[in-house]
């Protein structure tokens, strides 16, 4: 299996704005970084999820979170799977706030290796995401048995994850090294 293409936000920030910045703040910076990401994505295959790496990024404000995650998912999230890597608790707060407003969700992995889905998903879908990330099989029967859900509920949760392109992303997030 080919390695998931990884886009470093620190590198994107350096390319987009200035060498000295370590924080993702302001709408203007977010727009510039998103344009760098989009330029990189244009040259990447859609067969693999794209990983956005937050490692070594300091503060992430809501304006940047909206541009870099919210706007990226709105514009590209129906055609490509995304995984966010090395997300700190404070990054997560900003991302969650933005995604809940847009009714979007994305797979993430923090620096300690914990995989989760952040944003707007139903509780059964969140549980199924965790099941898949932990290596569980993706058949409705296995999910229903593994999580003690009714088959209809397991299917509905799985459908929700498919609709949001979170099935492959769950596995990719769980198996990616920090």
């Amino acid at each position: 299996m080919r390695a998931m293409p990884r886009i470093s936000l620190r590198e994107a920030l350096r390319e987009a704005v200035a060498d000295g910045y370590g924080d993702l703040v302001t709408r203007r910076t977010g727009q510039a970084v998103r344009e760098v990401i989009e330029h990189t994505l244009a040259n990447l295959s859609r067969e693999q999820p794209a990983a956005i790496d937050f490692g070594t990024v300091g503060c992430l404000d809501l304006s940047c979170a909206d541009e870099i995650v919210g706007r990226l998912l709105r514009d590209h999230g129906t055609a490509r799977d995304f995984v966010l890597l090395n997300v700190s608790p404070s990054h997560r707060e900003s991302i969650e706030f933005v995604l809940e407003r847009h009714q979007l969700a994305v797979a993430m992995r923090d620096a300690e290796g914990t995989t989760d889905v952040v944003g707007s998903v139903s509780e059964p879908a969140r549980r199924v995401f965790q099941f898949l990330a932990a290596g569980g099989a993706s058949s409705t029967a296995d999910i229903a048995a593994g999580l003690q859900l009714a088959p209809e509920a397991a299917q509905a949760a799985l459908d929700e994850l498919h609709r949001r392109r979170l099935v492959r992303a769950a596995r990719a997030a769980a198996t990616t090294a920090a």
Binding site: Y21, V25, R27, C59, L62, S63, S88, S90, E93
Partner: protein, 296 residues
């Protein structure tokens, strides 16, 4: 003719309306801001005074006069807080302006700093993280994650100037003992500009929806409670909502004054009103955030 605007002896958010009343009554006269008897000024008072000077200078094309505090300690504090570095742009200073070196360890977490563009916001966020983390943790009992949230809230408040004011503004951050109701240590963020204010910024997209009810107060409610923005992009208008959520977690207070109104998210320890209308008109917007130390 020169008209005197008295700076209150205790100049903070509570006495600001008294200051704004004298300012609003000044018509087109040249102003003398008289702070000779001022005994204390909060970051909100200092950035508000700069905004008044800026508005006066931009309107009249000449600087106002400013009589500095005669109390040596007060004048020193104004210098230490960074006010006197920028005051000469908008005021002809009268009185002794002390020269003070910036202290590395100080209750002034961020001196009065101009905010004119995105680069200034980057600078503010970087400086506050360098200087505030240890103090916020040690003196206010905030965890590390809260410090990053603090930088986020500060960034969003400053961006309101960059995105909406149509002119530059000011920010200052300080810790001090809140004697009024809380009797605890607090950190205070004050952001002020002399720009167009919320009503004029939102008017093209929101005024029709409100009809006769459109005012400074309804513009503030639309921005703070409903999260509307002058931009049609659905991702806009999140900044103040994000600040609200952050402050609610730490029992903090948020107050936004613009034009003739002030709206506040009032925690249980404060006795401010949620919405004040019919205040003396004052240019631009003034944002106040207060985070109290967390009880063990």
């Amino acid at each position: 003719m020169t008209r005197v605007v008295e700076v209150p002896a205790h100049f903070d958010d509570r006495s600001f309306d008294q200051f704004a009343r004298e300012y609003a009554a000044s018509d087109s006269d040249r102003l003398l801001f008289d702070a000779h008897a001022t005994q204390w000024a909060s970051p909100y008072g200092l950035v508000g005074l700069l905004a008044a000077g800026q508005a006066h200078t931009e309107t009249r094309g000449e600087r106002a006069l400013l009589a500095l505090p005669t109390d040596r300690d007060v004048a020193h504090y104004w210098a230490r807080a960074g006010f006197l570095r920028y005051a000469p742009e908008y005021f002809e200073l009268h009185g002794k302006a002390p020269r003070v070196a910036a202290a590395s360890e100080s209750d002034v977490l961020l001196e009065v700093t101009p905010v004119r563009g995105a680069d200034d916001v980057h600078g503010v966020v970087e400086r506050i993280q360098e200087r505030a983390a240890a103090i916020l943790s040690r003196e206010l009992g905030l965890e590390a994650q809260a410090t990053m949230g603090f930088a986020m809230a500060l960034s969003e408040a400053c961006q309101n100037i960059v995105e909406h004011a149509g002119t530059g503004g000011w920010v200052a951050v300080q810790t001090y003992n809140w004697r009024r109701t809380l009797k605890r240590r607090v950190v205070v963020i004050a952001v002020a500009d002399a720009g167009v204010g919320f009503r004029r910024s939102l008017e093209p997209t929101q005024a029709k929806r409100f009809g006769d009810r459109w005012s400074d107060a309804s513009a503030l409610e639309a921005a703070l409670i409903q999260g509307v923005s002058r931009f049609r992009d659905p991702g806009r208008g999140q900044g103040l909502a994000g600040i609200r959520r952050y402050l609610a977690r730490w029992s903090g207070k948020l107050s936004v004054r613009s034009g003739t109104a002030r709206i506040a998210i009032v925690p249980s320890w404060d006795d401010d009103v949620p919405l004040a209308e019919g205040l003396p008109d004052f240019p631009g917007s003034q944002v106040l955030m207060i985070i109290p130390s967390q009880q063990p």
